[in-house]
Symmetry: D2
Subunit: 346 residues, 4 copies
């Protein structure tokens, strides 16, 4: 059984594991106040060319999302996202549990457009009853999106401008940011993100680390007291250095993007094979998640040797499924999958 169902099936990349072993008996202060965290934060700030930003390390994505969103909103304010946004559909109401409405706008590929965001905001303020409606204040996007799509620089610039003109904040969930930045069609860089977002995070869990997300708070107005909020939400890791060590490793010698690029290349091989086989694909992406419609007959066979993620029935005989590659995926695994797909689809 080879697992393509998600991108968190293995442990960590060898460089990280080695580093954890080497430093295991060092004594450091707790809760992220150690030198490794400081060093990792420094490297991230340099990579982002954002010396005024603040970096904090959290264990996971839902934790990062709920901590950030509840930190920046007042109680009556809501967060606007794409309908398939992770916070809207796959976090068990974690954002609402902190008191805030999540407003999902329709999106076939998981992206939000500047026009959508502007339209929602303008509609709110034009409504005479707006005080009876949760106030849009924060825009949440994911790059790559939950459907594998990758934002272009032009799209992100338009979104950022739409937000700033209206006093809204822009938050980018980068659980798969490396896979987005390493995709063929990408033209964004970390400095672009730091310039265009108020806050974003760089995913580690799905990109080579055992766990961890690096939150970058670019907007100085949002930096105050963030460590209190991490602690309150249960996200302050006692042995915080584990996070520092991992991100320090990922941001040394370009490892983070190198791992992502390799996963994306394998994903593109798979994508091309699926297209060649005529499988409908809702999004054409160069990132590590590939969604395709396949006959249930094929999927039943495929499921004996491979794990994939079932996304839903599209007609009585076909389903939409997701295949993920990751930093840990090997060429031979993809070759074998493609070979079997070709065999089964004919």
């Amino acid at each position: 059984m080879i697992r393509f169902n998600c991108d968190y099936t293995e442990g960590a990349c060898p460089e990280i594991l080695e580093r954890l072993c080497q430093t295991n008996f060092e004594q450091t202060p707790g809760y992220g106040t150690d030198d490794y965290c400081q060093q990792a934060a420094q490297k991230i700030l340099e990579a982002c060319q954002a010396p005024q930003a603040a970096v904090h390390f959290l264990v996971g994505g839902t934790q990062a999302n709920l901590t950030v969103i509840s930190a920046v909103l007042r109680p009556h304010q809501c967060v606007v996202c794409a309908e398939p946004g992770h916070i809207n559909v796959h976090e068990t109401g974690a954002i609402e549990a902190t008191g805030h409405k999540v407003v999902g706008l329709p999106s076939p590929d998981g992206k939000l457009t500047a026009q959508q965001v502007a339209g929602y905001w303008d509609g709110h303020w034009a409504d005479g009853s707006h005080e009876h409606i949760a106030q849009p204040k924060l825009v949440y996007i994911s790059d790559s999106t939950e459907l594998g799509a990758v934002y272009t620089k032009a799209e992100l610039e338009a979104l950022s401008q739409a937000c700033r003109q209206r006093g809204m904040l822009l938050f980018l969930d980068g659980a798969r940011l490396g896979y987005a930045l390493a995709a063929q069609e990408n033209d964004l860089t970390l400095p672009d993100l730091a310039r265009l977002c108020d806050i974003f995070y760089i995913g580690g869990t799905k990109q080579g680390a055992l766990f961890g997300e690096a939150v970058v708070i670019c907007n100085p107005a949002l930096q105050e007291d963030f460590r209190y909020l991490i602690k309150q939400r249960g996200g302050m890791l006692a042995k915080g250095r584990l996070l520092g060590l991992q991100f320090d490793t990922l941001f040394t010698d370009g490892l983070y993007l190198r791992l992502a690029r390799q996963a994306d290349q394998l994903a593109v091989q798979l994508r091309d094979a699926l297209q060649e086989l005529g499988c409908p694909m809702p999004v054409v992406s160069g990132s590590n998640q590939q969604f395709a419609v396949l006959p249930d007959r094929v999927l039943a066979e495929l499921g004996k040797d491979y794990a994939y993620s079932h996304q839903g029935q599209v007609d009585p005989e076909h389903s939409l499924v997701r295949f993920c590659t990751s930093w840990a995926t090997r060429q031979d695994q993809v070759d074998r999958l493609i070979g079997d797909l070709r065999r089964l689809c004919r």
Copy 2:
């Protein structure tokens, strides 16, 4: 200026005001523990033929909704409603502020169907990732709906059955319950509601009282400690007798439905006139809210003498508006409005 924009533009019906004046200097214990509250609760239980139910009096609808919903759900559970449901669009995220996701299902008239509710629940439990999704546990409906529609007994029985078969709870927002029960097309009674709902409330604010909603908790499992929750949410009125006195009056000699019937009859006159004039009406209802599409040119003129509620632009030259009657609306006011509509629409 005559106000048809909503059904809470005047004070209280004379019977209530007189009662408040008569009893003003009586001394009673506070917080709803007085005899008037007890007496009013008793009359409501009798009207509902539900001796095992519990009755609590709250000041307003949003307060009732948030207190009830947060009282009956565990943190990971959500409430399912129609997209135009009041809790979804007009309470500034009040439900989310208590920690719970509100899931809106599409609905042109504001009603939910048994099939929709069953489908949502079944889909949740069929999803392998259901632990990552807020769990549907409570169904919220309004009668009449936010668009003036009235549930039939068959519809409510089907909904109730769909919920009970699945372990979901059914909560009915009756802010305009009198206007629903008094509508021509209605075939429901208070005993039906008490039998089919787990919890519902009987609106006073819009139906003759200065303020007040009577929450009826039919399901004994939901009755425990409800007064703690009222207090915690800020809904325990110090001079609770004001609520008891008002509902006691409304439930004496059929006053509640008598007031509602009179308002509905005037609304039907208006509805018939609008239909005669060829104004599109999204819902044909016998309750006190009438929604119609009118030319903006007509509305501009009308607005000089009447208040109506603007619901949205439907095309560059037409808008959807709402007219409400209430217990306080007079025949001559409706006559004048109909006369002016006829004059302006020709």
Copy 3:
């Protein structure tokens, strides 16, 4: 049975009731946007000599407390109060339900001192682990306090200064503010409160209104979007004019303080009688609440004709009880109570 157990046993003062009757059939817009609310707010701002402040009307005290406190704090911030503070002991955890810790500091009379507040704040920031502790940001005081004590101008000035020097906010719960301002020992005025507090409210429920508290937001930084928050917490009364009408009446021709003064004078007669009888009184106050220790034997007899509030057993044969007067208390009622106390205590 004459009730001295609390100050909300009757309805409203006749001036208010008459006003409600006179205006009953007027049509006004809803949710506090009517002229009466505006007019009442204007009179309050004038009484406070605070033209830049904002006034909002809420139905009750717990609602006012939870709405204000959750409006001004970020999630990790707590509110500091005296241990017997209403929010700490008599609101069923309403503040915590909005997400905030309430820190109670010891206080025999319900007052906080500048020194206590400064000490708590300084201790927080001196602690190396302060990010692991809820951050003190808001100070909550009551005037008169839950034990009947009345703040002096010097005390409030010191508290205000201690807060401002540290970036803390000062919030005064004035559920019984009239009774405090009308007390013999009081030297504070409404303009003093507006100058020294960031936010406070003027109680109506216990001071002549059917219900209602007027929140005065003096600090402009706290004014933004407050109506959203009122709506979200369920506190936006549909027929908001009921609040405007009541406060407009109370702030016409000095009615508010006149009613309070009369109640305080009767309370002082009672206090003097209790002192003369040798009953220990934990606080000597000129406001409308009088706490005294009485023999249980006397209380048992007294309870046949009078309601009082039992505060706790102090030894096997004595209890602490509270007597309240109000705007509705009559001289003959107090005379009778004093007569019976004298008879029973001898």
Copy 4:
């Protein structure tokens, strides 16, 4: 610099690190549904002799506390603990952020007694205004306590009985449970805990793991839907097997208690030395935390070579400090510390 300030200064015990390395490239399903988690849970259930209990793995203590407490309480219910309880003073209001009041009862050593708990509960229900007060429903204790004290079996049995007789739930925070169970004076076992508590957790973070706490839900009524709640609070680790692997290792061949015993023995050496030197110690404990009062002069010198935790000034010349040992502390480190203490104190 040798760190005795806390028990989370190193990484993991070698057995765990080796296991993580060995399994690094295995592919497993996510979110704790893998075989390692199942296997670890099984071993814990066997160690607890509690086949009906449920085991869940969380990353840290605050996360475990807030997830458990908010899972088992209704909104109006509070948790009762000792004043120095971790949830009361060192979690930045994490419990309140989920909506619940934390009531701290006085305790010099961090323990609660059955009598205290019973007294608080009885007092609540005897109060005529109890609906205005948060309802005590859950008792939170820590073993060992935040001051190093260890519960006896008699104490825990009394507490458990006091809770069960009143319908309260008992929750034990075992962040340092191993150090408690391995202490000389301990007479409790894991099966005792499983029998006497409704829910407890077995700390890993401070006891040999990189991170992780194993929550054991003994009371079947509290088991439903717990995974939803973990997800909602941000505690569901994507690579959940990391937790399973660590606890599987700790519960193989008695490693967990072996590591704890070794730490406790070193702590007792330090304790004996401190007592011999005449340093006042507020609690005499055989667990891994030792609190002592030392001259500031000594502490200043000591601080050059050792990290300790400063707990507070007790007089102008003395402070209370904490020394911790852990699974990673070596005999030579303790020898050196004791030697230096002897030198400096003379």
